[in-house]
Structure formats: C-alpha cells, structure tokens
C-alpha cells in the first residue's frame, strides 16, 4: 500500500491507493482529520487510524508537513547562537541595509533571529579563491561554549566568509564544537547552502539552526510511531524543491521542507501531465487565503534559491537559500475581503476572513464581504452546499456585508458582486502573468491546471483572459497536493558557486566541477543504500554575461563535455536571456553556480481510469439555477454531479459541475470533455 500524508495548518490529509476488492482496479482513498499542534505526529496517526489502514501494510510512506514554516512564523524554534568570522557578527543584523518601504522613516528591518549578545566571532579567514589565510583559532572555542551554554543556547549556526568555496575552517570548528558540546545542534553553512553572499548564507544557516531541534524531534517521534505501528520501510519527506528525501537526510537539514505543501501540488501537476501528455501546464492552487501558481515547461518546473519568508512589498523578509519550486503567491483566495480605501478604490485581499470567522455566508460572525460571498450572490456556489454541505449560506448576512460597498459604488448587489469577482480574477491574472508572460512564456501554449478549494471556480475565466486554450480540473482536486506526493521521485539538489568563464574554459575545467559534484551525489545516494541503477543526474548552470550580476538558470547538456556541448550551453543561455529580457549580447559568458540534480526513481502507482460514460452527460444533471456569467448576464444553468460523469462525457456551457469540495464554472458556449482518468477538460473559446 502506498500512502501519503500532508499536515496543513487546519487539516491533516491522508491519501492512499488500494485495489478495489470487487474490480481489482487501483482506487484512491482519502481521510481528513484535524491537525494537532504541537504534537503533529498524533494527527498523522489519527488519520491512519481513521482510514482504517495499518503502517505494517505500507510499502511506501511519504510525508509533508508545515512544521518548519510554523516554527519560523510563530517564532517557536530553539534558542540559537551564531559563530562568524571575526569582524562580521553584525552582518546578520545589518542585512542588506535596504528599506523597501521607501518613504516610511520609521521603517524597521525584520529583527534578527539571533540577538547581538549571542552572535560570536572567532579568528579565522578564507579568501574568495578558497585559500586559507588564517587557520581557525580553535583555542577560542572553550570560552565561547561556556558563554553560550550559560545563556541556555540549544542550537548553533556557524557561517564563515567564503565557506561556499572552501568549508575547511567551518569543518574544523564544527568538529571541535561537537567534542566540546556533544548535545547541542550545530549547523555549518556549507551543509545547507554553497552559494555566495554572506548575509543570505548566514540567514539561511541561522534559520536552519533555529528549526533544527524542533524538526529533528518531530521526525524522530513520527518514525517511532510508524515503527510501533509495524512500518518496516523508510519514510520519505516531501521537499520544497519538488522531490522527496529520506527522513534521516531531512533531519540533518530540515529547512529543505519549508515549502513542501505547495511544492507537492506542482509535482502532482507534473506527474499527471506525464500520464496524460500535458507537459506544458500552468498549475494554479486557490485556497482560502492565497492563490499560488507555477509554470511547468516541457514537464519540469523551475527551482530557485531566491526564496524569502515574510517578504512583502514593504518588508525585506528573511532569505533562505534553499531550493524551492518557483511559485508566485498572492493574497487572493475564497476568504479574501473586498474593501474600499480612503480614495474609494475597490480592492480584494490580501486581508482574509480565513476559516474563522470565514466569509459572511458562514454566519459565524463574519461581517465583511469576501470573494466566496460574491460567488454566492452570482449563483455560482450552491447556498446549500457550502463547505461540502456542512453549512447553509446565510444570504441575509451576505447582503448586509455588501451594503457599504453597494452604497459607495452605486449599482445593484449583483453588479458589485460581479465587480468583486472581476477584481479578484484580475489579481490572479496578474499572478499568472508573472509566471508566464513576464518571464517570456506565452500562455497560449499552456494548459491551466487548477486545484484547491477555489481553483475550479475561477479557472475558466482566468484562462479566457489569458487566452489559455484549455483548463484541466483534475480528479480529486481538493486533495491534489497530497496525491502529488505519491507520484514523486527522490530528488537532491547540489549547488556550488564557482565563477568560471564558459566561453574560454576548456571542457575539462567545466567537467572537473560537475564530475566532482556528481561523484559526491552518487556517494551520498550509495551511502543511503539507494540502488545506483535507479539514480539519474541532470546538470544545470546559473549563467550570466560577463559584467552582469544576476544569473539565468539553464539546463546544461548531458553527456561528454566537449567544445560542442559548451557551445550548446551558451546557445541555451542566449535563448533563455532573450526570452526573459528581450535581448542577447556577444559578451563572454560565465557560469556562477554549478547545479546538479540527482533523482532516485521511486515505483509509482498507475493512475486509474474511470468507467466510460453511459448515456448522455445530461443524465448527470441534478438541478438548475440562475447563474451570473458576467458579460453573459444571468443564465439558467444546469448543475451537474461531476462524479456521475463518465470517461468521454461531453457537454457545453453554461454549466456548473459540483463535487464535494469544488465547483467548476463553465461559461456559455464552452465545451467540456471528461477524459479517461476523470479529469475535466474545458476548451476555452
């Protein structure tokens, strides 16, 4: 049995494949329980119990959790100290010195995770070429350990200048620290990131050290519980860059799971595309508070290390240089509040009514109009079917909530609701443009794959706006993220900053770095008992024109390193630069970061097909109601039970397709086809 669990902020989801007793066909089942902070493992075990399955039967177990991001955002990590090169302990607090809130003279930087009294220095130095200028003064460590242990420190980050190119001084200090203080967590920078820029690397190391004790304890408890339940395999943990990793490796470097939830949805989209042949996809996940999107080009999503927590337009946030799937997130979801500013401009989000009090329609004390309320007014959501039928919408409260907007903007309630939906859609269109048009990708060449509670509701309108030709609403769109974890391979990213001329280097010099990284990767896979037959390596390079600073990531050719393969790499860079920035240059090209991705292929379940449609789609019509389709006005619309539509079913909008946790809105004239796997495909015209 193959099982995946996803611990979210509110619910813990479990999905698994089992063979249907009657038909022998693999079937996806799921269970949902409350998340149980701070002992999150209890929720996982409760979900297993609720599903009525036993760890002893698990052939594969994969797990995603918000524990790292929660510890960071709620500041519930360990008391952390920092050791830096002498003269540089304030790098963490100075940060980059920027003030994104330009005209706010009371601007405050986000406070450092380590106070100055716990930021210590030792004498040591490596230069930018990796030469050791000063051996580390290990005799300074005993006094330092004494000081930090007296302060009650639980975790230590060690970050020295230029350790990304030569970590020997960090290694020596860590080895000595471990002897002096075996019980403390120690995180050296070179084990979490090998990129230059000391502030970003220090920040990454500090945040890793901050969450390390918490994450390690959690993972060990989870493993203990699973083993007690009879699980005999190795649990895998979902990673931010869209792969899984062994529990042991994650316990050493837990920051890699900081964005595991969103990443697994994107992975699900990639995995689904592999089966259905949809390799160019924009993945869109609309939840209660945010919408997240990511572009999948030729079957792969971009992974970057330009990740920050708590970043906003006016807050620099905290950088974490860990590979994360490139996701654009905006504050627009089902619970986003519509409001007027002092200049009478209408905005939707980023403030959200969340799950509590929730939209006005929930009748739980929400007094502000949200996107969900607007959708109810427009008739797109069945008032009797809110939250999967748990709640009946309080439409009087919805009307009251809209009153101030109706008064200021004029027009009818229906017009205002339509306007709110239009602005929410425009916000999401802007996010979708950020991952497509703005990066040189033409949305007309992609499909829009939408999931999460609100994905199906907005997707067709968004696609029409962007001229995306097809919308796909996958089966199980509400648990799509957890499902993605069942279909992912083990993946490890290795990144090294080594500024190297591409144009004038010999193939041998480039080969040397990649080969060294490949050998390191293979040795690690081997040490973890992974069959090297199942390991596949891919090369990437972050490149730039000589003189530039920022880089563009390019897939580096496989195979032998030759003059031709270097020329091919250059051509790929020119093309990518022109795509992103409208021009290319004859300048020399440099590689800044060498990037190797190692995949260990995991057995995956086959995607089950659904039975063929029997009779016309109209047999799935359950009711009819008036639905507001914006420029088409109010239209009498059939409401279909999505789960009653078989493979090959076809219908034409206007239509509403309902399933327990999602509603697909199909405007008049658009054609819908249900494919053999049960995915709903809307041809956008």
């Amino acid at each position: 049995m193959r099982v995946a669990t996803d611990v979210g902020g509110t619910f813990t989801d479990l999905v698994y494949y089992t063979n249907d007793k009657a038909t022998g066909r693999p079937e996806l089942r799921s269970a949902k329980v409350d998340t149980t902070p701070p002992g999150f493992e209890r929720g996982v075990m409760a979900a297993i119990a609720k599903a009525g399955i036993a760890p002893a039967d698990f052939a594969f177990f994969s797990h995603g959790t918000t524990i790292v991001i929660n510890a960071l955002l709620s500041r519930k990590g360990a008391k952390t100290a920092l050791i830096t090169t002498r003269g540089f302990r304030d790098v963490l607090e100075i940060a980059r010195g920027n003030r994104p809130d330009l005209f706010n003279f009371y601007f405050r930087k986000p406070p450092p995770f380590v106070a100055r009294s716990l930021r210590t220095e030792i004498t040591e130095r490596v230069d930018y070429q990796g030469r050791v200028l000063k051996e580390p003064a290990l005799d300074e460590l005993p006094a330092l350990v004494k000081q930090l242990s007296a302060e009650g420190v639980e975790s230590i980050a060690v970050c020295f200048l230029h350790a990304y190119i030569n970590p020997v001084n960090e290694q020596a200090v860590v080895a000595r620290l471990q002897q002096l203080w075996p019980t403390v967590s120690i995180i050296p920078s070179h084990e979490v990131t090998r990129e230059w820029r000391e502030y970003e690397r220090t920040s990454t190391t500090v945040l890793t050290a901050y969450v390390h004790p918490v994450a390690k304890r959690y993972l060990e408890k989870l493993r203990g519980e699973l083993e007690r339940g009879g699980f005999r395999g190795a649990p895998y943990i979902m990673q931010s860059y869209g792969g899984i990793e062994t529990l042991e490796a994650v316990a050493r470097n837990p920051i890699t799971m900081v964005e595991s939830g969103p990443a697994s949805g994107v992975l699900g989209a990639i995995a689904l595309g592999r089966v259905t042949g949809d390799h160019n996809v924009i993945a869109l996940d609309i939840g209660g508070t945010t919408a997240k999107c990511s572009l999948i080009d030729r079957g792969s999503a971009k992974v970057t290390t330009d990740y920050k927590i708590e970043w906003t337009r006016t807050n620099p946030g905290y950088p974490i240089k860990t590979p994360v799937i490139d996701i654009v997130e905006i504050g627009n979801g089902g619970g986003s509040i519509a409001w007027l500013d002092e200049g009478q401009r209408l905005h939707v989000g980023p403030q959200s009514a969340g799950a509590d009090p929730g939209p006005a329609a929930y009748g739980r004390g929400g007094t502000k109009p949200t996107t969900t309320d607007a959708q109810l007014v427009a008739g797109r959501i069945d008032p009797r079917n809110l939250l999967g039928g748990e709640i009946r919408a309080d439409m009087d409260n919805v009307k009251r909530a809209f009153e101030p907007l109706v008064k200021h903007l004029g027009g009818s309630l229906a017009e205002v609701a339509r306007g709110v939906i239009r602005i929410a859609d425009a916000n999401m269109v802007n996010a979708l443009k950020l991952v497509s048009i703005n990066r040189g990708y033409d949305p007309r060449e992609y499909s829009l794959l939408a999931y999460g509670g609100g994905g199906a509701m907005h997707a067709v309108a968004l696609a029409a706006e962007l001229q995306v030709p097809q919308v796909i609403i996958p089966v199980n769109s509400a648990v799509f993220s957890a499902w993605g974890m069942l279909l992912t391979d083990l993946r490890r990213d290795y990144l090294r900053t080594r500024v190297t001329p591409l144009t004038t280097s010999s193939p041998g010099a480039i080969a040397e770095v990649y080969d060294d990284m490949a050998n390191h990767a293979l040795a690690q896979f081997k040490a973890d008992g992974i069959d090297l037959q199942r390991v596949r390596l891919e090369r990437f390079a972050d490149m730039r024109y000589l003189g530039q600073e920022h880089t563009v990531k390019v897939r580096f050719p496989d195979g032998q390193f030759t003059k031709e393969s270097l020329a091919e790499a250059r051509a790929r860079f020119d093309e990518a630069h022109e795509r992103g920035y409208t021009y290319k240059l004859p300048h020399d090209v440099q590689i800044v970061n060498f990037h190797v991705v190692g995949y260990a292929l995991v057995d995956k379940p086959e995607l089950p097909k659904i039975p063929a449609a029997r009779g016309p789609a109209s047999t799935a019509i359950r009711s009819r109601r008036q639905v507001d389709f914006d420029q088409h006005g109010l239209v009498d619309t059939p409401i279909y039970d999505r789960l009653a539509l078989g493979s090959g079913a076809e219908l034409v909008g206007p239509a509403i397709l309902e399933e327990p946790a999602a509603t697909t809105v199909v405007p008049p004239g658009m054609k819908v086809l249900v494919d053999e796997y049960g995915n709903v495909r809307v041809k956008v015209s």
Binding site: I94, D101, Y106, R345, A426, E549, H550, H577
Partner: protein
C-alpha cells in the same frame, strides 16, 4: 462622464501601476554595474503624452521629479518640431535641463504610440559606474567645472525609428572608462523601456484608447485626493530650519542653508531663499534636484504608501532664486549633488519633525557616504572600479529607538554589496563590517548605530575618492537627546599613521593601506537620564554601548 465601468477602470489602473515594477526588475536583472544591480541607484517610470507622471519604480527616493522633467525636456526639444516617432529612443545625462542629478545618471526615454497617436513615454534613469572625467568613477569632491566630471550628452536621439546611432555610442564609449559594462547597461535600459512599451501597447489594444486614458486621469486624481486628505491633517503655519553644509570640497568654509515651509489648507510651499550661493566645488544641486527633494520629503510627510504620480504633487510649490547651492547653473560642477540635495530634504525634516513626530525621526546620517576605489585587481590584474554607498544610523523616533545600519533616506531599496562579491570583484580584503561604539546618539530613545567597514588594498596603484557629509555637523537630536556621531573616512597607513577626511578625491593608496569608513549614529530623542534601566542594560549586554558610556551618557554604573 464615465463610459467605462469602475471595475474595468480599476483593473487598468492596477495594470498601469504594475508596469513600473516590471521595468524596474528588467533593468536590475540585466545590468552590468553593481551600482545598478545591487545598489539600485536607478529609477523607471511612465508618463502620459504631456509628461505627467503616471507611475514610477524606484530604487532611490530622490528621483521623484527626474522622470517627468526628462520627458518635458524631450518634448520641448523634439516634440515641438514633430521629431518624435515610433521606435525612437532619446538619451540624456544633462544635470541642468530635465535631468536634475549628475552626469553619471543616464536617462533613456521611449515614446509609446497607439494607432499612430503618441500616448505615453517610458523612461529609465540609471547610474553608470563611469562616465569619464578627471577621476575614475567620475564623481569627485573637488571638480570646479562640469567639464571635469565626464561626457555630457544633452538630450539626443540615440535610436531613430529602431535604428541605433552607432556614431554617438562610439563617441560615448571612447570617453568612458568601462565602455563594455556601460554599453551593457545601455542595452539593459533599452530593454526595460521595451518591456514597459509592450505592456502599454497591450493595454490600449485590449481596453481601447478612451478607457485607458480615463483610467489614467482617475489614477492622477486619486493620487491628488489621497494626498489632499493627508495634507489636511498636517499642522498649518510657517516652519523654519537652518543648518550648515561642511564645505564645498575646495575651501574649508561651511555653507549656511535654510528653509521656510508654509503649510496651508491646499498648499505646501518650501522656500529656500537665503541659502548659500552656488559653490565652487561639486556639491551643487540643480533645480530639478531640489524639486525632487521637496517631493520626496512631502511624500514621507503625507502618505508614504500610495504609488507616486503627478497628482500627488499638485499642491507642492518650491521657491528658490537661481544660482544658489540648491539651484546651480551651468557650468557649475554637480557630481556630488546628492549631499546638498539631501540637505534640502533634511531642512524640511528638521523644521517639521517636532510637529509631525509620528512620521519624522531625529536626524540620521544624511550622507550617502559614497566611496570610489579604483586600481588594479590584485589577482586578475584588470582595472577595478568599486563604487558603493554605506549604511549608517537613523535618528530615534518620538517614542522608540529606530534603525541601525540602514541606507540614507536618499537611498531606499538599496542593497549593500556583499563582502564576498566585493573581494572577488575588486580584489580588496574586507576586514570588518560591524556596528561601532563612537560617542553620540544617547537619549531616552537612542539613535540607531552607525557602522565601520575596513577595506585593505592589495596593490600599489589604488586611488580613493569619498564624500562623507555631516563630518563636521553630526546628525541633529530632539527634546534633549544627544546629537549623533559624525560620518568620517580614514586611511590607516602601513607606517601606523592615520589620516581622517570628510571629503577626499583621488588620494593615492599603497599596498596594505586600510580604508576605514565610519558612518554616523543617528540623533537621540529625549533626556538620556529618562531611558529605562532595562534598555540600558540590554544595550550594554548586546555591546551597543560600552560600560564607559553607561557612566558618561546615562549617569549609571552597572
């Protein structure tokens, strides 16, 4: 009367505002110069066909009048003769007409057409690392005429209907020290404009001319409405301040400057009459720079958060006779204009801080604290040209300590250059980057801490230029707080001697010399004796103050 529904108008307005962000990112990501891609010393913007600012993307705060005045200059010179066509790009670095800064900032202006009608301009203005002149890095503290400060390009058509004027580019390239980098920056600028142009064309195509123009008008009146509300909340009356600029870099005499701010229900008038005349040295500022300065502090005072457009500044008036240090005329040298421009900001700040304390803190380091180090890279043997500003301490607020180690108000979304990149790119060794413990800034609310940074040069031919204003007149305090500490530049020679400067140009350095840059602590607010003992204890524990300062500044012994 509106013909387009309010929701569509809102969507167009947001799209217009988003164009600035996208142009900004395009320029940053492709630039060849750290002063652009790290320090973000540049600005992008969109104006309407008449030059009214629609949206602006800023790395720095003090370019707020630079985008529209550049367009007006192009309109006056080319528009009147019918010489603006699709595919044209205009270029200018003129400090006096339109530009408003110094020769180092190159502006690029592209007209945008919809069905053969000129509908907008897209603009960017970015600091090139070198534009020629007598000193590497081009700005100096002792030029006496603009001719010493680099090549002058007074609004020329560099691309005509898509065809690049290679001859002009060749002339520019021959007159600057890093032509390859700067030509890269030129193309990055052209690309940023293309990105903006494309978006505007798409908007017109999609929503139609009338809807977009209506959305534009509403955007401007929205800016005006919002700011009028904030102006109404400001105290009314006449507010004055005076201060002293250290010197002009040629003689050691200080220059007196002053402001009289008059706030009424519908106007904000800043009158600088009475300030020192145009100086011999390059601290001169031009009139456009002065307007930018007033707009900047006005924005901070009224509404720091709404996007800036022409509507936001309709109630601002700037009064100042010609030929003062704030309004210098050709051919006055202007290459370190920002020191004086920031005095214009700081004078209004100082005049109004006691009356609008929820928006304005005590005095901060003020100076951008810029240094230029030029010489041979110790390892690559190539010419290295390091230009960077430095973070410092901000003044305390009326009810809180404010920030340490942050760029001057003149900067903004400005990033320090990482030590690891500095060492690789310029071949110097950075020996410390830390908060320091110089005296100053004590108070009930303590001034933010300044920093010290050391560069050790590793070859014999480096020269140093640096401009550290507020070397003689440290940041001001409020309500009985202590003034901050001064900005200063030191050279620690290998023979053990130390030289200290506020301004220096082209100073030769030898292998092993250390350049030590020390930035100001901000001014304190309130009597230090009123500072709670636990805050003093915490500062001591964190090493922000020394045991001696606990005694001398706070009268305690802990």
């Amino acid at each position: 009367m509106s013909t387009t529904d309010p929701y569509t108008i809102e969507i167009i307005r947001s799209s217009l505002e988003a164009i600035g962000d996208e142009m900004f990112s395009a320029l940053q990501r492709t630039s060849m110069s750290p002063i652009i891609y790290e320090t973000l010393d540049f600005s992008v913007g969109v104006t309407d066909a008449s030059g009214d600012l629609i949206t602006q993307g800023n790395g720095t705060t003090v370019f707020l009048a630079m985008i529209d005045s550049l367009v007006r200059d192009i309109l006056a010179k080319f528009g009147s003769k019918g010489e603006i066509h699709p595919g044209d790009v205009f270029m200018s670095n003129d400090p006096y007409e339109g530009g408003g800064t110094h020769l180092s900032d190159f502006g690029l202006v592209s007209p945008v057409f919809h069905q053969n009608e000129l509908v907008a301009f897209v603009v960017n203005k970015a600091h090139w690392v070198d534009v020629g002149g007598k000193n590497p890095g081009s700005f100096s503290t002792n030029a006496t005429e603009i001719f010493q400060e680099g090549i002058q390009v007074p609004s020329v058509k560099i691309i005509a209907r898509g065809a690049v004027n290679e001859q002009i580019l060749e002339i520019i390239a021959a007159n600057i020290r890093l032509p390859k980098d700067s030509m890269g920056d030129f193309w990055a600028g052209v690309a940023a404009n293309r990105v903006g142009e494309r978006r505007i064309v798409e908007l017109f195509a999609k929503y139609g001319r009338d809807a977009v123009l209506e959305a534009k008008e509403q955007l401007l009146s929205y800016g005006e409405t919002m700011i009028q509300k904030d102006l109404a909340a400001l105290p009314k009356g006449v507010f004055t301040a005076e201060d002293w600029i250290d010197d002009d870099g040629i003689t050691s005499a200080p220059l007196r400057v002053q402001v009289k701010v008059t706030i009424t229900d519908d106007e904000f008038v800043a009158d600088f009459t009475g300030s020192a005349p145009q100086a011999q040295g390059p601290i001169n500022n031009s009139r456009t720079g002065l307007v930018s300065a007033v707009r900047m502090i006005f924005k901070a005072l009224t509404n720091p958060h709404i996007p800036a457009n022409a509507g936001c500044f309709r109630m601002v008036k700037v009064v100042c006779p010609d030929s003062t240090v704030f309004t210098a005329k050709r051919p006055a040298p202007v290459s370190t204009y920002w020191e004086t421009q920031m005095y214009a900001v700081d004078l209004i700040w100082k005049a109004l801080a006691p009356h609008v304390p929820q928006r304005l803190t005590a005095g901060h380091q003020l100076s951008v604290c810029a240094v230029i180090l030029a010489g041979t890279h110790a390892d690559t043997k190539e010419f290295a040209l390091l230009v960077c500003p430095l973070v410092g301490g901000w003044g305390a607020g009326i009810n809180q300590d404010v920030e340490s180690g942050q760029f001057s108000a003149a900067d903004g979304e400005t990033y320090n250059i990482p030590v690891e990149i500095t060492e690789a790119r310029y071949g110097v060794l950075v020996e410390q980057y830390a908060f320091h413990n110089e005296a100053g800034g004590a108070g009930e609310y303590r001034g933010g801490r300044g920093v010290v940074m050391d560069y050790r040069v590793r070859t014999d031919d480096f020269v140093l230029t640096g401009s550290f204003g507020r070397f003689k007149y440290p940041p001001w305090s409020m309500n009985g707080g202590q003034t901050g500490s001064p900005n200063m530049l030191q050279v620690l020679r290998t023979d053990g001697t130390t030289e200290t400067y506020g301004k220096i140009a082209g100073l030769p350095l030898r292998k092993g010399d250390v350049v030590r840059m020390i930035t100001a602590h901000g001014g304190g607010v309130g009597d230090p004796k009123k500072r709670p003992i636990e805050r003093i204890r915490e500062d001591l524990h964190n090493g922000f103050i020394t045991p001696a300062q606990v005694q001398s500044d706070y009268g305690l012994s802990l």
